[in-house]
Symmetry: C2
Subunit: 188 residues, 2 copies
C-alpha cells in the first residue's frame, strides 16, 4: 500500500470517528508518525482526501448495483439483490462508508453537485425497482419515493454497528433486512 493510500485510510478512520471538520491535519500526521507539513508531499489538500473517499465509495455502490440492474427477475427478487449489493459495499469498508454517508456535505463545489447527482441517480434506480413492483402488484404501496428513502435509511446505519468478526455475515444481514422490509415484523 502506497503512502498516499495509507494516508487516505487513516484519514478515513479519523473523519468517521471525529468528523471531517473536527479532524486536523496535525491529528492525521500524528497518527501516521510524521509532521503535518509532510502530508503535502503526498496529497493536494485536506478536501482532496475527502473527495477520493467519497467518490471511490460512490463508484463501488454503482458498480455493485450495475450487476443487479439488468437481471431478469421479479421486482421483489431484484430488490433483494439490490439490498444485498448495497449491504456488501457498506460492510466491506465501514469507515469509508461512514465518511461517504455523513461527511459528503463538506465537499465544496463542483464536487458537491457531482455527488448530489450521483446519489440522485442511485436512488432513482431503486425507485424504478419499487415502481415495477407496484405495477405488478407485488408491492402494496403507492409512494415509491418514501419507500426508497426509508429503505436506504434503514440500511445506512449498518456501518456504525457492523464488525467483520461478528456472528452475522453481510449476506445474513442482507437477508434479515430484506425479510424485514418485504414482509415486515409480523410475516417475517
Amino acid at each position: 500500500m502506497s503512502r498516499k493510500e495509507q494516508i487516505d485510510q487513516v484519514a478515513t478512520s479519523l473523519f468517521k470517528s471525529r468528523g471531517f471538520a473536527a479532524t486536523t491535519m496535525r491529528d492525521l500526521a500524528l497518527e501516521l508518525g510524521i509532521e503535518a507539513g509532510s502530508l503535502y508531499s503526498h496529497i493536494k489538500s485536506k478536501e482532496d482526501i475527502l473527495q477520493r473517499v467519497c467518490f471511490k465509495m460512490a463508484d463501488e455502490f454503482n458498480a455493485a448495483f450495475d450487476e443487479v440492474k439488468n437481471q431478469d427477475v421479479p421486482p421483489s427478487e431484484k430488490l433483494r439483490l439490490a439490498i444485498a449489493a448495497h449491504v456488501r459495499v457498506l460492510t466491506k469498508n465501514p469507515p469509508a462508508a461512514g465518511v461517504f454517508l455523513n461527511e459528503w456535505r463538506h465537499l465544496s463545489e463542483p464536487s458537491l453537485s457531482k455527488f448530489h447527482e450521483m446519489r440522485f441517480q442511485y436512488e432513482e434506480s431503486l425507485r424504478e425497482i419499487v415502481r415495477a413492483g407496484m405495477a405488478t402488484g407485488e408491492f402494496k404501496v403507492n409512494d415509491e419515493k418514501f419507500v426508497v428513502l426509508t429503505l436506504l435509511s434503514s440500511l445506512n446505519w449498518l456501518h456504525m454497528w457492523y464488525k467483520p468478526e461478528g456472528k452475522m455475515s453481510p449476506d445474513d444481514i442482507a437477508e434479515f433486512l430484506s425479510n424485514l422490509l418485504l414482509n415486515g415484523l409480523k410475516h417475517f
Copy 2:
C-alpha cells in the same frame, strides 16, 4: 421568545445545515444581526447551546414515550404508538431533531456520557416492546437489538425530508412507516 431562545433557535438551524464544528460564532451573530462578542451576554459558550438543544430533544422523546410505555395494549399496537410518538417529536422541530441526531458527538464529557446513557435507556425501552412481541409470537423475529436499530434508523431520516406544509401529516407518516415495518412491502 427571549433573546437566548432566539439564539438557540438560529444556532440549531445553522448546526443542522452546516454542522456544529463548521458553524462559527461569527456566522451565528451575523444571522442575528449582532456582533459575535454580544452573544456572550446571553450564553455561556458555543457548546452550551449544543447541550441545551440535545438534552431538550432527549427530554421530549422521553416524555412522548412515557405516555406509551404503560398502556395495556398488544406489543404490535404499542410499537405503533411508540413509532407515532417518535415521529411526532421528530417532525415537531426538524432542525432540532437533526442536531440531536447528528451533532451530539461534539458534546464533551460529562455531557457526552449522560447523552449516551439516555439514548441507551430509550433504545432499551423499545427493545422491551419487541421482546414482548416475540414472546407472544406476534413478531416473527429473534434479534430485538437488530430490529430496534433498524427501526430507529428507518425513522431518523425524517427530519431531512419532512416539511410541515407537505401533504402527509406526522400521523400519516407514522401510519405509513408502521405498516411498512410491521407488514412489509408485500403485505402492506
